[in-house]
Amino acid sequence: MSFVVIGYPGDRRVTLFADACRAAGLAEPQVIGWPDVLRGSFTLPAGVPVRIDSPGEDPEADALLRGDVAPTRTGGGARWYEGFVAGLGRIADAARDADAPLLNDPDEIAVMFDKRLCHARLSAAGVPVPPVLTGVDGYAALRARMAEANEHRVFVKPAHGSSASGVIALEVAPGGTGDRIKAVTSAVRRADGFHNSLRVRTYRTEEEVAALVDALAPDGLHVERWMPKAALDGRVLDLRVVVVGGVPTHAVVRTSTVPMTNLHLGGQRGDLGAVRAALGEDGWRKAMDVCARAAACFPRSLMVGVDLLLGIGWRRYAIGEVNAFGDLLPNLPGLPDGPAAGVDAYTAQVRAALSALSGSHA
């Protein structure tokens, strides 16, 4: 018994999963790189279960997906997505031909990589999500839709972005001393356009904000209400909850002094015990239930990483995003009262996969 992993050979995601396989007494997974998938030059071994992982920062895959642009450049998401979905389609075809079970589903991954589709799927299932503003194809439309909906604070996200790439926390006010605008984003303006950076910047002029929104818009935008986040010890926070086999197994608190909580933008891990205490046991159960319901919208994916927003006051929950590859939480032990207590998210998935496959592949 072993697995095939489609990912970035040598990347941490791949080696951590391989470690979990070895620890479970399984053979080393066979790794297929995304460039081979994207070129169509790969085959899957017959009957071996396949885990689809992220192309990650594989420069070769990135070049194939994005074309000849600097890797830091914001935008290009539509082209990236088109190539990625084509690759997913090839994986689905190859898996069918090889009669290989897939641990995660190409169609579901494609939905998760389009924030608009993902939001719509969650919303249709009655999972709490922030209200969305649709039909935003540029800055003028954004402001018009905000005015219609009486929204003064929104998150503007590239439909296909990840890791806060191109995300804008935008606030506007018809203030007492004139109109105001403030946009917090990791995008930085250079001569050749906007780039992602490791520092969060603030833009305060309409000209700059409009330029950024209009630069991102052709690749698709997802715009939703900025739900005021709960905070502890002077830092706002949200949760990344890994759901394996339908059950929340791992959770980290991500805290920040800026609207984005991503670790590479200065976010820090927070105290999960303090968050559980603030939510109360009943609130915690409800929060985990919301995550499980979000994951249930992707029933053919063994694992999803759910971003859970906790509203200020600790009584409101909403799902920010569902991440197909949201399990990179090295060495994080599972929730003590869950089925993966004490083991990391990769081990939890290996166990769950073995259990799910045992019927047909024992």
Binding site: N150, H152, R153, E171, A173, P174, T177, P228, P259, I312
Partner: protein, 303 residues
């Protein structure tokens, strides 16, 4: 860095967020009612829903949460003044209790609160967060015990109106002075009328905080006649460096204070030790001191 968490307690009462859909509501006088604008309807609608849901005559404390800045007719101060006859027991009021995730402090718009102050002559405590468009005419109140202005940039007009008001029983005054960039144009000599001690005969606590000219403020306080009457003094949250610390430490005696709040300053370890050594009987808060070289010099709450 800015205000980031809601109050859980206000005026000695637990804060309770009013939700019109709630099945059971607490007794009106046992909580501070937090009223925020709902997704449907204005802040006014939310307040009226509360007044219609409980015996409003027993409400003692209100915390005004989120509201839209758009229509000044719906600013909470104005709305509250209009319904004052339905709130005869109101004693404590917090205007603009929003966090950074709800509104930048400098974006919270208030307007003229003179009608509010006139409509609630029995108010004992008033807290105001944010100072955009905030104005009031000098007023007289024998009831007011606590007055607090939290701001990223407090306009000098507010300080002048406080000084010109007749508040014989005011015991506690906090002013977050903030930065000039956000409208904070108070200079040290604007505070003379306050620091002379001729006004505010009952004052026991003075906070002159969150100032980018905190050293200058400290130097003024070091000479201020009012200090002898204080039990507690706060010069926290601002750009207080060793220069201001030295001025304070070598000015008039502070040994009579019960507490001295110097948290979130830029005082050195040596200066902090000097304060502890020279004021052994005073409870001094020197937490969260910043390193100017690592962080730059800035106030705790600005935008």
């Amino acid at each position: 860095m800015t205000v980031i968490e809601h109050l859980e307690e206000y005026a000695g009462l637990p804060v309770h967020e009013f939700e019109a859909s709630a099945e059971r509501l607490p007794d009106p006088e046992t909580v501070a009612w937090r009223i925020g604008e709902g997704r449907q309807g204005t802040w006014r609608d939310a307040l009226i829903a509360l007044l219609d849901s409980v015996d409003a005559g027993r409400i003692e404390a209100i915390v005004v949460g989120r509201y839209g800045n758009g229509d000044s007719d719906d600013h909470p101060g104005k709305v509250l003044a209009e319904v004052a006859d339905r709130l005869p027991a109101l004693r404590s009021l917090f205007l603009g209790e929003m966090t950074m995730e709800e509104s930048e402090i400098s974006w919270i718009v208030h307007g003229d609160i003179t009608p509010l102050l006139k409509a609630f002559p029995k108010l004992e405590r008033l807290d105001v967060r944010g100072s955009d468009s905030l104005v009031f005419e000098p007023f007289a109140s024998e009831s007011l015990r606590t007055l607090r202005f939290e701001s990223g940039g407090l306009p000098v007009g507010i300080v002048r109106a406080v000084i010109a008001s007749d508040l014989p029983n005011l015991e506690h005054l906090d002013l977050w002075l903030g930065e000039e960039e956000y409208g904070g144009d108070v200079r040290g000599d604007d505070l003379i009328g306050l620091l002379s001690g001729e006004r505010l005969p009952a004052l026991r606590h003075l906070g002159l905080e969150n100032s980018e000219i905190q050293d200058e403020i400290a130097a003024e306080v070091a000479e201020a006649p009012v200090v002898v009457r204080l039990e507690s003094l706060s010069l926290a949250m601002g750009v207080l460096t060793d220069a201001g610390g030295e001025a304070l430490l070598f000015g008039q005696t502070l040994t009579h204070l019960k507490s001295l709040d110097l948290h979130r300053t830029f005082l050195s370890d040596e200066m902090a030790a000097s304060f502890r050594r020279r004021l052994p009987g005073v409870e001094i808060n020197l937490d969260d001191r910043k390193d100017a070289e690592a962080h730059g010099l800035y106030v705790a709450v600005s935008e």
